[in-house]
Symmetry: C2
Subunit: 441 residues, 2 copies
């Protein structure tokens, strides 16, 4: 397992940071990002290229947020709309650009002709190379048990979510099975469950207040979208069927506690490596019949999953696993992404503290088996609460040209909003700038 | 428009062919395929590489069915299972291999990061390059009006079919809208319509016997899967909504009569260029609100469509359009594919006539605006009827290790079966061989 270096004192860091961030707002100095420095870890100890000469705490305190911030047009000022409603994971583009040709793929015109990838597999449209890299990456990261599991590939984990509902719903039941999740739950769960008005399954709302008898499906998202907390099931009744959405159970977002060992877990490249445009997700499924039914769903829905994207995803996952190889030179993907998130969260916390108008969730540090160190969660979304008189946080921030997603879409109060932490450096820099400006206005 | 050359007499051809085919069965001579020769057409006149030296009628009479037939293992004999149940379009692989690097695509690791392709488009996940090539190809082939249409991309046309049902179904209706199609209809329509038990739409069976009042959706597949006939709508009532599935409306399968000009038409690369593994289809949609709803469906279903495959599809469609350019050297895609289908249909008709146990649909020749000549349809499937005592044609052929799809799945008698004409040369050669063996057994 990879180890995180002993880090600087968070208290020292905060004080220094507050001072320096003030100068950020005033001076708008944009420099190249450096991120936290690592020492003594396998995945974190190696830094690439020009960063290798640096040492000490400068990375954490660096005022810039990345390459493209230098290109930001400051003339746009406060009229510029900063859209952080979606979780578009463009934050990792820099890493993949730095990798150069290593993860390029060339697909000849005569490939991907057949519908079939492996007619002997339950999931007959699963590219064997992709399946192999999924298993390898889980073994490298230690975030999921793959032994005794069927891999089912999907057009993103959205399709696999629907496939899971289809597979778990009883046939010929008198009424649709209830699908529940503890609030705040992922805002798309209700509409994804109900848009087809299926007679098989139906959105049942907040799992915390679910009281019906009989079978139900509970969606457990951990770490949770939108708030980033680690979760377990909450209904815990005899006839419960669980779907674990572990899209964010990767070392850059949360300490890896142990390999997830559930009946049905969902993952996606969108959030792990940041390749949302590929539309590739995967499920690890214990029960063969469930895997067969999920495969049947995808057959009826889209007759399989893009081979091109499966092949590309295989190459990208391989590059991530390779980058964690202790013998290799250069930054590992999780080193880069952990540092990136740490850097953003650090600056965000400082900005929020300065403002006094908002609050953030408070996370408990936990031991991360991947980095072999106690670390704090640093979620892919900020779950921001407007304090004081502001009842509709989304509208309030929209008034400052910051687009976020209201808590009401997640089944809770509109005093909360979800804000993406995965956007471009440029957008994130402007967001922090804007947040600070609110405080001073 | 491209022109087909004046062709040899079909009568002469048949006599010669029957004699020569007999020797095929006895001798199993495998040579390189040549196909029909073209003269005087823009798309058909140019032959590639070693074929250019040939002339006359040898192509049509050639006994071989392609490169890979030479590699067929004859030792497997009658135990070998020939699976022609699916319409896996591997027939075109030879063409794409011959194109070499021209249609290879290299995708760097930092591409396809974002969910978005063009946030200003109704279909925000549509790659502009793909949309451009779709419009260009329709203009080159003359098979669909694109002006005043919105292009919606889907994960194959299956997803677009479901998106169309979703978009056309009335919200808040007392009962689901009926979805009908004239038998024999595509075997997957009933299960695709009903597998989610949607409250929005419901399979209503054969359009010919549909008599309910009120709104309905009619699926018009032309040329039809399974039987290859050109079709129009049959219910023709005031509240009818039409979805035209034109997957096979391409010059290799059917004469192009005029540009299709409907409210909602579906196409797919699987059947046009043969790249089924890409899972890319597109819809041409007249009504903006319908295009928006279809986009919403795909957003909820899979949050967009693989960018990688869209980019590859753009390159492949561009190569097809380019290959029809009169100034270019080499075989055009439609020349190759037309010849391939003509060759297969010619040999199939001969084999069926010899057997005396089966019959085939009889098609009327029609003027093809693309080839500027009167031509016969040569569908992607054989709609074979077992004559005489055989009531279950699928079982009968399975007894001879030929897997086909029974007429009962298409809403008609089990005396019919659907057989793919798009499989590998090797499989098709063995199929003809087996069909002839049945007659002699």
């Amino acid at each position: 397992m990879a180890k995180l270096p002993s880090m600087f004192s968070l208290g020292n860091l905060l004080v220094l940071s507050l001072a320096l961030n003030l100068s950020l707002i005033l001076r708008m100095v944009y420099e190249r990002e450096e991120g936290y420095r690592g020492k003594g870890s396998s995945c974190l100890k190696k830094q690439r290229g020009s960063l290798m000469a640096d040492s000490g705490h400068r990375g954490a305190l660096n005022l810039s947020l990345g390459d493209d911030s230098a290109r930001a047009s400051h003339s746009q000022g406060r009229e510029r709309i900063i859209n952080l409603d979606h979780g578009d994971p463009t934050v990792y583009e820099t890493f993949w650009r730095q990798m150069g040709d290593k993860t390029s793929i060339t697909i000849p015109g005569w490939q991907s002709i057949s519908y079939f990838s492996d007619a002997t597999n339950i999931c007959w449209f699963l590219e064997p190379e992709f399946a192999k890299e999924v298993v390898r990456l889980h073994n490298v990261v230690g975030n999921a048990v793959t032994e005794g599991r069927h891999v089912v590939v999907g057009t993103g984990s959205s399709q696999l979510f629907l496939a899971a509902l289809y597979a778990l719903s009883p046939r010929d039941a008198a009424e649709p099975i209830s699908v529940v999740s503890a609030a705040p739950y992922y805002s798309s769960y209700p509409s994804m469950t109900d848009y087809q008005k299926s007679g098989l399954y139906k959105w049942g709302g907040d799992a915390e207040s679910y009281e019906k008898e009989g079978p139900y499906i509970e969606l457990v998202t951990s770490p949770n979208n939108p708030d980033g907390f680690v979760r377990g099931s909450v209904v815990n009744r005899r006839q419960g069927l669980l779907v674990h959405d572990l899209a964010y159970y990767w070392p850059q977002y949360t300490p890896i506690s142990s390999p997830a060992d559930h009946d049905l877990t969902l993952f996606t490249v969108s959030k792990s490596t940041g390749h949302a445009g590929m539309r590739i997700g995967w499920a690890l499924v214990k029960d063969e019949e469930v895997a067969k039914k999920m495969t049947k769903f995808i057959e009826l829905n889209t007759i399989g999953v893009s081979k091109d994207s499966q092949l590309r995803a295989a190459k990208v996952l391989r590059a991530v696993s390779d980058s964690c190889d202790q013998e290799r030179e250069g930054d590992s993907f999780f080193n880069f992404s952990y540092n990136k998130m740490a850097h953003r969260w650090h600056h965000l916390r400082a900005a929020v503290q300065r403002s006094g108008m908002f609050s953030l969730p408070s996370f408990s540090p936990a031991f991360c088996t991947f980095f072999a160190q106690v670390l704090e969660p640093q979620p892919a979304f900020v779950w921001l609460k407007c304090e004081g008189e502001i009842e509709d946080c989304e509208s309030y921030l929209r008034g400052h040209n910051i687009l976020t997603r209201s808590g009401k879409h997640f089944g809770v109060s509109p005093k909360y909003v979800r804000i993406s932490m995965l956007d471009t450096d440029d957008n994130f820099t402007h967001f922090l700038d804007r947040l600070s400006a609110i405080q001073s206005s």
